[in-house]
């Protein structure tokens, strides 16, 4: 094959490659920790908070390192991250407040096979 281009291929920076695999390792380890919680801890609000927290840590590594946002100028970082505040607002407004209100106003009760005793936490 004839070499027509005069493009100079720069040498590989070993540290940079190692850094990429390190991030991948961190993501894999966090996922394994999530599995440990899924199998060893009973379901509940605390477990859900742990899951969401670990997910946000994973999201941070993907956006900051893989998508390189952490190395962009501050203006770009903020114009991408700050609009996400609306999502937090939506979660609180629609899931926690509206979802809870719909559940209680429709008289929906949780299912418990152990007995007829229904614990109503709305009172």
């Amino acid at each position: 094959m004839e070499q027509t281009s005069n493009v100079v291929v720069q040498p590989v920076d070993k540290n940079k490659i190692m850094g990429i695999w390190k991030i991948a390792g961190i993501l894999a380890i966090i996922t394994l920790i999530e599995y440990a919680f899924a199998f060893m801890m009973d379901a509940g609000t605390l477990r859900n908070v742990i899951f969401v927290g670990l997910t946000i840590v994973k999201a941070f590594y993907i956006v900051s390192e893989f998508m390189h946002l952490g190395h962009e100028v501050k203006g770009l970082i903020y114009s991408v991250i700050l609009p996400m505040v609306f999502i937090l607002w939506l979660i609180v407004a629609l899931v926690e407040l509206e979802g809870g209100a719909v559940k209680s106003s429709r008289g929906i009760v949780d299912y418990n096979p152990d007995g007829s005793e229904q614990v109503d936490d709305s009172h």
Binding site: I62, M67, L76, P83, V102
Partner: protein, 254 residues
Amino acid sequence: MATTATVGNKSLWAGGVAPLKASYGKLMMWFFLLSDAFTFSGLLITYAFLRWSAPAYKGDPSDFVFSTEYWPIPEKVYDAFPGLHGVEAPLFFVGLMTFILILSSVTMVLAVEAGQRMDKKGVVKWMLWTIIGGVAFLSCQAWEWSHFISGSGVATIGDVFLNGRWVENYEIMGAGLSFNQYGPPAFAALFFFITGFHGFHVFSGVVINIITFFNAANGMYEKRGHYEMIEKVGLYWHFVDLVWVFVFTFFYLI
């Protein structure tokens, strides 16, 4: 000219200055991804809202049986693995899918890195791995969908709306958009909609990856003098991985 803002001796309004030090294409990709993040947030919040307002199962998880009356425990739904019929392997298959997608994200970073060094061979190699990862993920999803649709175990007895009338004590097997054996109708409808919407993103990502793979292999970006297109496509591909991280948590873990 003395009244306009200047950077060095250059006017900011005379062109040639990239705002936020990012090229037009990259900037627009970021804003597109931001809007796409809102779309997925809307879907996931809908899921959380419907789940929050649906009856939950409060009993012992080991006594759990499927019913259309309450929301199922996810690890009881997703406990199958291809080739292991009847073996309970909760969340193993979706773990494999997560692993595949994270790995294909890594190979995409390596492709971007090779592009920054003008290493055409490296770009072509890592793009190919990324495409293979994407296709593997889609294949896994196809298996998961077909298993979800055809159902497994014992049929769930429930009242369903079928062919224009309510049918009582119907034996429900598998899942469709109107009713399913795992839980309330909304459970499967949301599963199809959200994982389907994500899967369609993966599919378009694979198509775009294939196009840029051929462009890179044909030397188009080498002639252009830079591999920025790989970076832009990479942003999209990482976003697909990012969305999966959230879908994984909300659908399979919580």
